[in-house]
């Protein structure tokens, strides 16, 4: 009661005062700072090399040239890199989710003995830096003839991503409603049927978040692809830009055009799935 009268006497200072505009201006300024590198990249991706060397990186383009973009696209055969990235990330996303689901089904619903330790092991596998696996994997891939193949990267990341997926899904499935499982059992459903007819449909939102995450994570991976994929025909989008930079052949406009083309797919993906992504980040955070 007292609080109410007080609130009437002392209205919120921020609601009308100039403070809120100051805060807004500050945040907009910070957001603009974050965008500056993108803006500079856009500005220079459409210039001709002569324009760049003559007028520097800050000037408005003389004319909007698509040459840099076209040159980069042709030089790295970008359509091939795009296809490689889609095949690798797509396969890893699907296979990783399936593998995580099978593991988590046994751990969360099946409650197999020693599950706490097994989940801990998967969590540990998620923490192990790739450097501590890469040389034996590199050696193994060479021995089995999988070196420099997309399959090698698909297998490795399916397992690495599913280590995280298992950890996440096992804790989700640990609290799966018993009533649903019991109902399925009474209806005579086998474990296999229960998994696909009852568990998967209920988990669909979580699974789709996981799918998108695995896709993006794998798309952005660099270290293991750098080691495993040496051939132009197998490399992914980030590798294409990096290996070209390694040659030191790229002029500034091609660098910017290449960076623009390389990050465009991820930005489009981000805009399409923004909601799912932020939901997923938070789901991961609170476990």
């Amino acid at each position: 009661m007292a609080a109410m009268t007080r609130s009437r006497r002392d209205p919120d200072r921020y609601r009308k005062g100039p403070m809120r505009w100051l805060v807004l201006a500050l945040l907009v300024f910070t957001a603009a700072l974050v965008l500056v590198p993108f803006a500079l990249m856009l500005l220079n991706a459409f210039k001709s090399p002569a324009d760049y060397s003559g007028n520097g990186p800050l000037s408005w383009p003389d004319s909007f040239q698509l040459d840099g973009l076209a040159t980069y696209w042709r030089q790295v055969r970008f359509e091939q890199k795009l296809l490689n990235s889609i095949v690798i990330s797509g396969s890893v996303a699907v296979l990783g989710v399936v593998l995580s689901l099978l593991n988590a089904y046994a751990l969360g619903v099946g409650r197999v003995r020693g599950r706490v330790w097994i989940v801990g092991l998967f969590l540990l596998a998620n923490m192990v830096p790739q450097e501590a696996l890469v040389y034996p994997l590199y050696f193994l891939a060479k021995e089995t003839g999988l070196y420099n193949s997309r399959l090698s990267v698909i297998i490795i990341f399916t397992v690495i991503q599913s280590a995280f997926g298992t950890y996440l899904l096992a804790s989700v499935l640990g609290t799966f409603p018993k009533a649903l499982l019991e109902a399925a059992a009474i209806d005579g459903a086998s474990r296999w049927t229960t998994l696909w007819r009852v568990v998967v449909p209920t988990l669909r939102p979580t699974l789709s978040v996981l799918l998108i995450f695995f896709f993006i994570w794998t798309w952005n991976e660099f270290f293991i692809p750098l080691v495993m994929l040496i051939d132009n025909s197998t490399q992914t989008v980030p590798l294409a830009l990096a290996s070209l930079q390694g040659d030191r052949l790229m002029d500034a406009t091609t660098t910017n055009a290449g960076a623009l083309i390389s990050l465009l797919p991820t930005v489009i993906f981000f805009l399409l799935f923004q909601r799912t992504l932020t939901r997923g980040v938070t789901a991961g955070a609170v476990k």
Binding site: R6, V28, R111, V128, Q130, A132, V134, V281, A285
Partner: protein, 302 residues
């Protein structure tokens, strides 16, 4: 009856673990074990490894570059954990508290998406973009010239004194969106009545931030700190794209050090020792984090 049915069949669930177990053993457990073995050998990658015991480790302890790489890891922790978490907290709470409530959720989520944008890029692409910005003929120097500070222009990544701070700057730019997104979601979970009551009691913004925001989102702060610390210790792509550990090892980090030993210097055993040491560090740090977390949680319950 149905419970008994489920209980009886629990053994059958092992089958579901089989593909995962086989894959895990082949891709993680065996390679990890092999890496530990290799760390006890001298090997160039061809021929057979020669067992030398702990020699690689004693050599590591005397290697200035190795210690330097861990000092640089600390710098990465500052750039990827401490700075982004602090700035992220401020951004998220002002976005939520002031922007979201005074200017509407649309404005707040638009700003949040902007902060998050660098996070969706392949980090090596971000590294190459920044590598160009910081080049001697890049945009950073051009900006300095344009505002009359041309005297400061510099080969930012080529000078051992400025290379590391610049890599840190890039990592802050990359990382900032992650805590913002997590903290904003965390704040949605907090009961708005708490803020209202505090506001009515005349608590200013800072007081509310201190007394409500910080304690309420402690679990998320923990997760952000842990995941970012692990990421900071593992960082590779940006170093590769920006400096390749140079100039003169000024920006070498353990993962780049290991990569370099494996594939450029052909010192596989030595690289494996670095990778094993890094793994050990990550596991210790993670366990320490989890320990502190469970201790604060149980302290709160009491």
């Amino acid at each position: 009856m149905s419970a008994r049915q489920l209980g009886r069949s629990a053994a059958g669930f092992w089958w579901y673990l089989l593909p995962g177990a086989v894959a895990f053993i082949a891709i993680v457990a065996v390679p990890f074990g092999a890496n530990i073995y290799l760390s006890l050998t001298k090997w160039s990658g061809v021929g057979s490894p020669r067992f030398i015991g702990a020699d690689n480790y004693t050599r590591l302890l005397q290697d200035d570059v190795f210690w330097g790489s861990f000092r640089n890891s600390l710098a990465m922790v500052v750039a990827m954990v401490i700075v982004p978490t602090v700035i992220g907290l401020l951004l998220a709470s002002t976005l939520f508290d002031v922007i979201g409530r005074r200017f509407g959720n649309k404005t707040a989520s638009f700003l949040r998406a902007t902060f998050y944008l660098p996070q969706v890029l392949p980090v090596v692409v971000a590294g190459i973009l920044w590598g160009w910005l910081l080049r001697p003929d890049g945009a950073f120097n051009a900006l300095l010239n344009a505002i009359g500070l041309g005297g400061l222009s510099h080969d930012w990544l080529g000078d051992p004194r400025t290379a590391l701070p610049m890599v840190m700057l890039v990592m802050i730019w990359v990382q900032i969106g992650y805590p913002v997104v997590i903290f904003m979601a965390a704040l949605q979970r907090v009961d708005p009545d708490l803020y209202e009551a505090a506001e009515i009691d005349g608590a200013g913004w800072f007081r509310r931030f201190q007394a409500i925001t910080l304690p309420q989102i402690r679990p998320e702060t923990f997760v952000v700190a842990l995941t970012c610390t692990i990421a900071a210790l593992k960082v590779f792509g940006p170093i590769w794209a920006l400096t390749r550990g140079g100039p003169n090892n000024a920006t070498t980090v353990p993962s780049y050090f290991a990569y370099n030993a494996f594939f450029n210097k052909l010192q596989v055993g030595y690289g494996a020792a670095v990778a094993t040491a890094l793994t050990l560090l990550i596991v210790i740090v993670s366990l320490a984090f989890l320990r502190i977390q469970s201790r604060t949680e149980s302290a709160e319950e009491r």
